[in-house]
Symmetry: C2
């Protein structure tokens, strides 16, 4: 089973209107601060439905515990019966997010990647780079981070995997060296500016998944030749596209949806000089597809 | 641990505004028809939060399976971590519902119960009667049902528990013989009419939990001296009170909330001739309390 194909099929089903996704459920806590989100849905005429519960409690670090936790529940669409409890603690969400980044690169990245720019030094900054190995042979990374410590750890860990990593705290250096850039931070202020960008660059923005978060100068989307959303509907209320549309820099009608591009089956980029942006906010169909894939593997 | 006290404390916390209950999540299915509901919430400053998932797939009977299924998940309010998965298949919902009926009878039923009237012959028609044994010694039941078969089974099963059961398909016979009446059906049309009621009767309506369902003639609520809701907010959008308010038979301001009555600690009924109605639509705090009680018992 090829997980990338499974995820591509999910995006296509979503863009074809075959996925039922009710509004996200949310519980907020104040003492200690935390939030729990319930994402759920199903593909019509599929075998199962999935409920994902994900929590972030940011005081956990002080207790020596990870801030994220969670699970996925898989139920039969024929009987409503619970079939599987996947105690993945958020791992499968990371996998499905990294797969979406791989797919975005497949359809949008330039043919020759000079260097991969990475904003952030956390789990996705590592995982996404390794997931890109199916799309490019490039092993040169320019990593941007806020702290020398975390940059050093990132550099060591990625070097152990065979990557050549240069670190910087200057976004301009990333933009000058790299034509495939991955944004993986929870920033609420733009980290990369339109004026810094080189022609022929593709950016996948995976960090911004709420209305507050923003990693890209909205003018980048105005300057981009092609802007792709994982979910147009969702990207109009959160993420980079939300900010750019609200600021009047782009119109919603200019944005293409990833599933439609996958269905077309060809690279979206038509010239190596185009600037392209993929905005990935995370769609429930990704959770459905990854949970199904795990269950099928377990039962085969 | 006394489960009734646990449930009473939950209703008091709810009426005191200490319970956070977001809107219910819902997934609807067409082929086969089914629905899944996600209820979740927490009591402020409590140790845990609870997510309950309950499904009803009405074609399951043809497969030899129960139509209902479900589970409860208990998480730490301090870390967000999953603590327990209770695969109760709806049993704990039945327990918390039966406990609510017991509490309603405790505060509202007449001192001397002549006979217990029961509309319906299913799980709650059985369970509620046995849960009432803490509130009354009465073992006389008049059971109303739609089918002779189900009435016969109900009669046999309850006789085996020591009850004296008379069965009928005429609501008037129930109303004439009984001064404590339990409504446990999924009816969408009134089964019991205001003209049939005797003074001094208490009715607990537990069957109607959606806007469509209705077991009582709305004029019963108009004629009642006291109307109590498990959740005033919820009862204005579903259940018996919803229908009576919409028809203009009662005003929302006349309705009391169960938690407030429990906090007062006295019987609500001030005379043995009063007609009283408790409308129980099921509140998330009941799920929170029952799940907590099970987990505490398991870990003690």
């Amino acid at each position: 089973m090829d997980l990338t194909s499974v995820m591509e099929a999910g995006f296509v089903a979503y863009s074809d209107g075959k996925v039922v996704v009710p509004p996200v459920g949310e519980l907020l806590f104040e003492e200690p601060p935390g939030d729990t989100h319930i994402k759920y849905g199903y593909i019509r005429d599929d075998r199962v439905f999935v409920i994902k519960i994900a929590s972030g409690f940011y005081g956990n670090a002080a207790l020596g515990l990870p801030s994220s936790s969670g699970l996925m529940l898989v139920f039969s669409q024929k009987t409503g019966f619970l079939e599987s409890v996947l105690l993945d603690e958020g791992y499968l969400t990371n996998v499905r997010t990294a797969l979406a980044g791989r797919i975005a690169a497949r359809y949008l990245a330039p043919k020759e990647v000079k260097a991969i720019g990475v904003f952030g030094t956390g789990t996705m900054a590592r995982m996404q780079v390794t997931y890109l190995s199916t799309e490019t042979d490039c092993q040169n990374i320019v990593a941007w981070g806020r702290s020398d410590d975390s940059l050093r750890r990132y550099c060591d860990d990625m070097a152990a995997l065979g990557y050549h990593v240069t670190t910087t705290r200057d976004a301009r250096e990333v933009a000058e060296a790299c034509n495939l850039i991955i944004m993986t931070t929870p920033s609420t202020k733009p980290l990369l500016m339109a004026s810094q960008l080189q022609p022929g660059t593709h950016i996948t923005a995976m960090g911004s998944d709420t209305p507050e978060k923003q990693e890209l100068d909205s003018l980048i989307l105005a300057r981009a030749d092609i802007v792709v959303a994982d979910s147009l509907e969702q990207c109009l209320s959160r993420g980079e596209i939300f900010h750019a549309v609200r600021a009047g820099h782009i119109a919603a009608a200019q944005v293409r949806e990833l599933g439609g591009q996958i269905r077309a089956g060809t690279r979206v980029r038509t010239s190596q000089d185009q600037i392209t942006v993929a905005d990935l906010t995370g769609v429930a169909v990704q959770d459905i597809q990854i949970a199904k894939a795990v269950c099928e593997r377990l039962s085969s």
